[in-house]
Amino acid sequence: MSITTSELLWAEKYRPKSLKEMVNQEDIVKRLMKFVEERNMPHVLFAGPPGTGKTTAALALAHDMYGEDWRRYVLELNASDERGIAVIRNKVKEFARSKLPGDIPFKIVILDEADNMTADAQQALRRIMEMFVETTRFILIANYASKIIDPIQSRCAAFRFTQLRKEDVVARLKWICEQEKVICYPDGLEAIYEISGGDLRKAINILQASASLGEVTVSNVYKVVGLAHPKEVREILNLAFASKFIEARDRLRDLMVTYGLSGIDILKQMHREIFSADLKIPEDMRIVIADNIGEIQFRLVEGADDEIQLTALLARLSLLGKKLQSKS
């Protein structure tokens, strides 16, 4: 029983360490290799859907640029975790201040989820980028390039990461199974691809969870998804529709407490349930729920209290359920 490797998350374990190991986004990888060769690069912006290799490419680029010791010259930040631009500024300042060894041309700051920053914060970021341009380069990572303000875009070389092809994802999953000596079935892998929506990191996570059930079969894959997204949410919806309002609300509370879910988390799960075949309600109803979830989510954004807003949603659904029943 070897512990050193098996305890790792595969998404981490099988993340390419070097640009040479990357199997997708060939064009981009080629251009990045040029940077390594020339030991120079501009600020760059990696944009594209989740799980298409943006972070991997950034880390691999740093690795190739600086060798095994790369972590010393790289500052990883995540815009949605850092409290405000001031914190980011300080961290970058601190990081930029430390001396560079002679042969290192500059340090790299990787700023993930940069599109989650407000326009104001991005303006400040832009100034930070300019301030330290002599000693640092920024790699900005974003899902949506359009959410990055123009002045930053025009200062960066932009790279668009595209959705991975199904065959690429499946091949990668299969390769991992071989490495891990896990039995997998083609339809199992395809199911994973479908569920992950092309997000490779997500796909590998599901793969690992399915493998932990023994083999990667379709049924195991779905079992994992079922375990990951508990039936509770569905039951709450069903209760609400059966106009068992108080019961639904009690279950909602249980859910929030047991899993520590926030209002937004729960709404997202409800949103997912709308499209699930396991929820047995007429399609018309689904549409109505989708509309209502939109409204309530907006209220959450405006309001202060998760539970009140979700309870109001359950009340709405209960009333709808009652109306439906009285019709039929």
């Binding site: 995540n78 996570n205 932990s212 059930l213 009340a315």
Partner: protein, 475 residues
């Protein structure tokens, strides 16, 4: 012109001897016994707690009076920073040695719940230290034993409860003072004063003086005129009843004006009880919509910082909910057994779960180079699936990621024990390996360490500690 020093009655009639302290027999015997044994006691300090005016400080003063202790007092009017406390400690011990034959000493740290967080920085820690090293008995007083500040005193001081005074005893006390002051006292006037005092002797004496001194008598009429009854605040149940039964907007708005509930609490009480009061689903929805809108205003206040918007939140919460019963207006007067908001009781639990989840997400985020929120939404559910379905695998992951017992519990739910069992096995295996080949294990551990993110050192330590305690427990 000569004048005699005038002192308020509370001082004039303060207990001089232990027996003057009324109604606290249990506390008295406890303290006296403890003092007799000192320093052969389990805890070197006592903490007197109880409502104001029940005799905490008085008892200490009476003891020092009667048994000849020299009192070294520090209270909230003194600065109680670290250095201030230390000075007292020094004073107590040095004087003890200098005048070994002199008076016995007693340290009174009065009002320890009044140690200010900012101005008295380090004060409580210094007290903690003082208790550990003291050569002199220490008595502390406080009103609320549950005060967060007092938490660190719980282990080192014995808590002694003081009770509110009984009405009967208070009456006796006031009678005594009336006699001494040559006051004619109407029984009903004293009764009025005593019920107002709610077990607080000091307040009762003050009020008696306010009504009686100089008039030569204490009448109910004057007592009522000067000491107006305390505004009676409606308890939550009365508040809710009044609110739901309101037929006019102004009635509903008034429901909150003399309530024990503030708007934040009322929000929770309403959230809990709307479906109990109203039966028609449309009415229920209307009420919740009003509450939800009210909540939006509260959110907007936070966003814009404009508290003028609060009135609208309160309008919707009161009037909006009260006038929601349109389909079934008879529900308004229905007798309803209101329940305490579940929210309040589950809130702390929720907070704990969320913070563990937060920590878990941070660990995963570092490993996977994502944001904590992505880790929460994408990775946690999958991890949970693994923990629920394959305990052995989960145990390995838990070790690899350095998860705490709490984290495992959140991920595994009822499956927790199975995982912990495997966890132990793996640990034993590790130990075995260690004894087999020390060098090998070293390398292994190093590798494990390398895997862990560097910035998580603090957390890692904590986690290992958690694990350690767990192994001990189950082993």
């Amino acid at each position: 012109m000569s004048h005699q020093l005038k002192i308020p009655w509370v001082i004039k009639y303060r207990p001089r001897k232990v027996e003057d302290v009324i109604n606290q027999e249990e506390a008295k015997s406890k303290v006296l016994e403890w003092l007799k044994k000192w320093p052969n006691v389990t805890k070197k300090a006592l903490l007197f707690y109880g409502p104001p005016g029940c005799g905490k400080t008085s008892l200490v003063e009476a003891i020092s009076n009667e048994f000849g202790y020299e009192l070294l007092e520090m209270n909230a009017s003194d600065f109680r920073r670290k250095e201030d406390i230390e000075r007292v400690a020094v004073r107590a011990s040095t004087m003890q040695s200098l005048f070994a034959s002199g008076k016995k000493k007693l340290i009174l740290l009065d009002e320890v719940d009044g140690v200010a967080n900012k101005e008295d920085v380090g004060g409580l820690e210094a007290i903690e230290h003082l208790v550990k090293v003291t050569k002199v008995p220490i008595i502390m007083t406080a009103n609320n034993p549950w005060d967060q500040k007092l938490r660190i005193l719980r282990d080192i001081a014995e808590f002694v409860q003081f009770r509110k005074l009984e009405k009967r005893d208070l009456m006796k006390l006031l009678h005594r003072i009336c006699n001494a002051e040559n006051l004619h006292c109407d029984e009903d006037a004293l009764d009025y004063i005593v019920s107002r005092a709610e077990g607080d002797a000091r307040a009762a004496i003050n009020d008696l003086q306010a009504v009686g001194e100089g008039f030569g008598e204490v009448t109910l009429e004057r007592a009522k005129a000067i000491l107006r009854p305390r505004d009676k605040e409606r308890d939550p149940f009365e508040t809710l009843k009044l609110l739901f039964s309101s037929r006019y907007a102004w009635q509903a708005r008034n429901a909150l004006s003399q309530s024990q509930l503030d708007y934040e609490q009322l929000k929770l009480w309403l959230e809990e009880n709307i479906p109990h009061q109203y039966t028609d689903m449309e009415d229920v929805l209307r009420a919740y919509e009003a509450l939800s809108k009210s909540d939006i205003y509260l959110g907007r206040i936070v966003k814009s910082g404009d508290w003028d918007l609060l009135v609208y939140a309160m309008d919707l919460m009161t009037v909006g909910v009260a006038l929601a019963a349109i389909n079934n207006p008879r529900d308004k007067d229905k007798w309803t057994k209101y329940t305490f908001p579940q929210r309040i009781s589950i809130m702390s639990k929720l907070k704990e779960v969320r913070s563990v989840r937060e920590d878990l997400a941070t660990i995963l985020a570092k490993h996977l180079h994502t944001s904590a929120s992505t880790a929460k939404s994408d990775v946690l559910p999958i991890l949970k699936a693994m923990f629920v379905s394959n305990p052995e695998y989960a145990a390995k992951l838990a070790i690899g990621l350095g998860l705490s017992e709490k984290m495992i519990e959140i991920l595994a739910g009822t499956n927790k024990q199975a995982i912990l069992d495997y966890y132990r096995k793996v640990e034993e295996l590790l130990e075995k390996k260690a004894s087999e080949a020390l060098a090998g294990t070293k390398k292994l551990k190093q590798e494990m360490k390398k895997e862990k993110p560097e910035t998580e050192k603090g957390k890692e330590k904590k986690n290992t500690k958690d694990l350690f305690s767990f192994t001990k427990k189950s082993g």
